[in-house]
């Protein structure tokens, strides 16, 4: 293992503190100047709630997880049975030597090592069995030859308010670290060195990045009903309510969530609702209301495999066409599918500006892989982001317009060149109107006349044409000249970028065309860019090829190959490389 990179998988039953251990390990590497990527799986509960957490670390950016691992941290026997095949030659399993009777046929390989460490006993000695996860983190770090100080600092910060617990955890980690150092000094499945002078980085999951973007955009109200894998947005906002003087509301269902958010936005506070596909299904009727009444709205939809309850804890991209078409009738909306945590941050911020400037619903489409997975980044540059509230007018302006127009009501749905009307808020004198979900005239009065209907439809749908001029088209990554272009959207970006490393090593000329803005579809730009590709293939996580269909619908173009998976598992560089190799 000459490479300065490592992939560690921690596995065990739910309740062993695997998520905490994994996050601590990721932070330790990050503090040592490495870039990290984390991915967690919590498969079928029938098998005893088996959880895994994978950390990949390297000096260069790590864009996705890898299928292969160098260190398997097995907190129970099942973990060894399920994952020993994922180890690279020279890799090592760390397991509890006093708790697990290692059967001779459990690891049927001679090219990997098994390292028995008395994890629980060392934890007990340090202060309690519960710290077994911390002991194992220390052991894993030692296996990589990574200095202990970074783990120590991560633990100190994690328990900053409880010194005694910090001391105990630090001792537990040290015990695991030293035990491996003393007993397995010859075993080094990976060697990763700190990068001196590396920038200070954050390690962040997509759901948290979304919430940060929303905070910067001035979100004042968030409504959500718990649903995997979207729930951590609810937790983030609940934790930040007091720091940011906002309201985070858990409501009775997703129908309530979107309607609360619409009510808050209508009244002038920036508001959003977060959910997954099932919850979004419940929101569909109200989405149309936001379109019809021209209320700005931001919805974050974190995909998981459907249909119905599907596979709640896994990843998928099967809701693309659904969110584009959801709700009866036709109305304008924007659909944005960011590719990683950093894009989730910036695009959620942008979503709020788009929603207010065009007075329409904006859907941010995420998925489990980037929503719960973490990556390290230099802190997002939030300072230059400018809040733009569009045609929200002042009370004075409202009164002036109202006086000029006469009549009972303010013309909230006034016909304008760009279809966007000056907007008043309840509380403003001279701004009174009734927003109606029925077809209405410029004042909001219900009118079913054909002429008015035609004009109002053109006004609303016209906004889509205006916004289409301003949204970015798909973006190329990788070499300019390529034999194959991988075309994808959303979270697939990470895996493709990570696989570039393998393409380069193998002299394969492959690049990527990545879509973030999905609707309105940037047809012209996409068509032009695809026309320059020698050969292109779609990569997407759904059964029917929804991006492929979207491209065909808008450009008439079809890919040479379609690489799809719909098994709930994320794309990995190994999987993608093998697919590309077959066709090049």
């Amino acid at each position: 293992m000459a490479e300065n990179r490592v992939s560690i998988k921690i596995g065990g039953e739910a309740g062993y503190g695997i998520m905490t251990a994994g996050a601590t390990l990721a932070k330790s590497f990050s503090r040592g100047g490495l870039n990290v990527h984390t991915y967690s799986e919590f498969p079928s509960l029938i098998r005893g709630g088996h959880n895994t957490y994978q950390i990949c670390a390297a000096p260069e950016p790590v864009y996705s997880h890898w299928d292969k691992i160098q260190v398997l941290l097995a907190l129970n026997e099942e973990t060894i049975a399920l994952h020993w095949q994922e180890l690279t030659p020279g890799g090592a399993v760390i397991y509890d030597s006093q708790k697990v009777q290692l059967k001779p046929d459990l690891v049927r390989r001679t090219d990997v090592h098994v390292a028995g460490v008395p994890l629980e006993a060392l934890a007990e000695k340090a202060g309690g069995k519960i710290m077994m996860n911390t002991v194992s983190v220390g052991a894993a770090l030692s296996m990589c030859d990574f200095p202990f100080e970074f783990l120590e600092s991560a633990i100190r910060d994690q328990f900053a308010k409880r010194k005694e617990i910090a001391d105990q955890n630090s001792a537990a980690a040290r015990a695991g670290y030293d035990h491996v150092g003393q007993n397995f000094s010859a075993l080094r499945p990976a060697h990763v060195s700190p990068v001196p002078g590396a920038p200070r980085r954050i390690v962040i999951a997509g759901n948290d990045a979304v919430c940060l973007g929303a905070l910067r955009a001035g979100v004042k109200f968030h409504a959500q009903y718990p649903m995997t894998p979207a729930s951590s947005m609810l937790h983030f906002f609940a934790a930040q309510e007091r720091n940011y003087n906002m309201v985070s509301k858990q409501v009775e269902d997703e129908i309530a969530a979107i309607n609360f958010a619409i009510g808050a936005n209508f009244t002038g506070a920036r508001a959003m609702a977060g959910t997954s596909g099932g919850g979004f299904s419940l929101m569909v009727e109200a989405l149309g209301m936001a379109g019809m009444t021209e209320v700005p709205l931001v919805i974050v939809e974190v995909q998981r495999p459907g249909p119905s309850t599907g596979m709640p804890t896994w990843t998928d991209q099967g809701d693309l066409q659904f969110v584009i078409h959801a709700s009866q009738g036709e109305f304008p909306r924007l659909v944005i599918a960011p590719g990683d945590q950093e894009e989730l941050f910036f695009e959620t911020f942008n979503a709020f500006n788009f929603a207010e400037r065009y007075q329409m619903p904006v859907i941010v489409l995420s998925d489990k892989y980037i929503a719960e997975g973490m990556r390290s980044y230099e802190p997002f540059r939030w300072q230059d982001l400018k809040v733009d509230r569009g045609k929200l007018i002042t009370e004075g302006e409202a009164q002036e317009l109202f006086k000029k127009d006469g009549g009972d009501w303010f013309k909230r749905f006034r016909f304008t060149d760009d279809g966007v009307s000056p907007r008043t808020l309840p509380g403003m004198r001279g701004g009174m109107f009734v927003a109606a979900t029925d077809e209405h005239d410029e004042t909001g009065e219900i009118v079913e006349a054909a002429d008015n209907r035609k004009q109002m439809m053109s006004k609303r749908m016209g906004k889509l044409e205006v916004v289409a001029k301003e949204i970015p088209g798909p973006k190329f990554y990788g070499p300019k000249e390529a034999d194959l272009t991988l075309v994808c959207f959303g979270s697939t970006k990470g895996t493709v970028l990570e696989t570039f490393k393998d393409f380069e090593r193998n002299n394969l000329k492959v690049n990527m065309l990545h879509f973030v803005y999905m609707h309105p579809f940037p047809a012209q730009d996409a068509g032009k860019k695809l026309a320059t590709c020698k050969k292109w293939a779609t990569v997407e996580a759904n059964f029917t090829g929804q991006l492929e269909a979207l491209i065909a619908q808008h450009t008439g173009k079809r890919p040479a190959h379609a690489f799809r998976r719909w098994d709930g598992r994320p794309f990995s560089p190994e999987w993608l490389f093998s697919k590309v190799e077959e066709v090049l």
Binding site: R200, G263, A269, G427
Partner: protein, 285 residues
């Protein structure tokens, strides 16, 4: 500045059927809004879908004519954004007790300040006469030609046990009394549920003006104490003599009154132009 009932009146006239109880409710509402001194620009009338829910178009305040059954979550979102706004919710028995029932139960628990007026005509009017959640047992309609076999919803009893802090009923045939009930609801600092017996002259030939004139009595005339929850429940469960007036009222902190973020003033007035993320980013290093 408060508005007169004339100032609250729109040029456009309501399109309800002649004789509909909704006219009386609209008049009672305008009178109560005027007398309570609610400023029209600081008043938001939120409705769902149904005959009753067209009302916001005919009272000059801010209005939001939302979706069937969704007036309450929209109104609560509005209340969260601006808790200095007077919020009046207009609903019907189908809108409020049928498709919107789930929201009602949770809104009552939360106790946000708003007055919820349910036009209860015990039938679906706009969809041309089907059985509603409050239709009497045996009620015959296009959807129950053999007669309704489902026990009707009891809104007063639900309000009392469900956490509403003000539970009252009025009758569209007595505008003066109704205005008094509305005015008390507006004054109540919390969630006020006001059910109104509203005869549907087109589709409901059972629960008519005469029916209610004969069956109803005023709680005020019988020295009912609205602080007495058990007594309120007994009145609510009486299906022979139908009480109108205030069944139940209690003082309980409102949701918005307890939320620390709202102490800094209505959310809509917070400055969002340059939110500092330094603090929120701290956890991620």
């Amino acid at each position: 500045m408060a508005a007169t009932t004339k100032e609250l009146t729109t040029a456009l006239k309501p399109d309800w059927c002649p004789g509909c109880g909704d006219f009386a409710i609209l008049n009672g509402l305008k009178a109560a809004v005027s007398e309570a001194g609610l400023e029209p620009h600081n008043t938001l009338v939120v409705s769902g879908i149904g005959c009753s829910s067209k009302l916001p178009h005919w009272i000059k305040c801010y209005g939001f004519h939302t979706l069937h059954g969704r007036s309450l979550p929209v109104a609560q979102g509005a209340r969260m954004a601006n808790h200095e706004m007077n919020i009046i919710v207009i609903s019907g028995d189908g809108d409020g007790y049928g498709i919107g029932m789930g929201h009602l139960m949770h809104a009552m628990r939360r106790n946000m300040r708003m007055s919820v007026i349910v036009h209860n005509n015990q039938t679906y009017g706009l969809t041309t006469g089907q059985t509603s959640p409050t239709s009497d047992l045996g009620y015959k309609s296009k959807s129950t030609p053999m007669g309704n076999v489902e026990v009707p919803v009891n809104p007063m009893a639900l309000g009392i046990v469900g956490g509403a802090t003000f539970v009252a009923r009025a009758f569209a045939g007595d505008v003066k009394h109704m205005k008094m009930v509305f005015a008390r609801a507006f004054k109540h600092n919390g969630f006020a549920l006001v059910d109104v017996y509203q005869p549907c002259v087109t589709f409901n030939k059972v629960n008519t003006y005469d029916f209610f004139r004969e069956k109803t009595y005023k709680l005020e005339d019988e020295a009912h104490n609205p602080a007495d929850r058990a007594a309120a429940m007994v009145r609510a469960m009486d299906h022979e003599r139908l009480a109108i007036g205030v069944f139940y009222e209690e003082a309980r902190p409102t949701y918005e009154g307890m939320h620390p973020a709202l102490v800094a003033g209505p959310l809509v007035r917070h400055d969002i132009s340059n939110v500092d993320l330094t603090k929120a980013l701290e956890d991620f290093y």
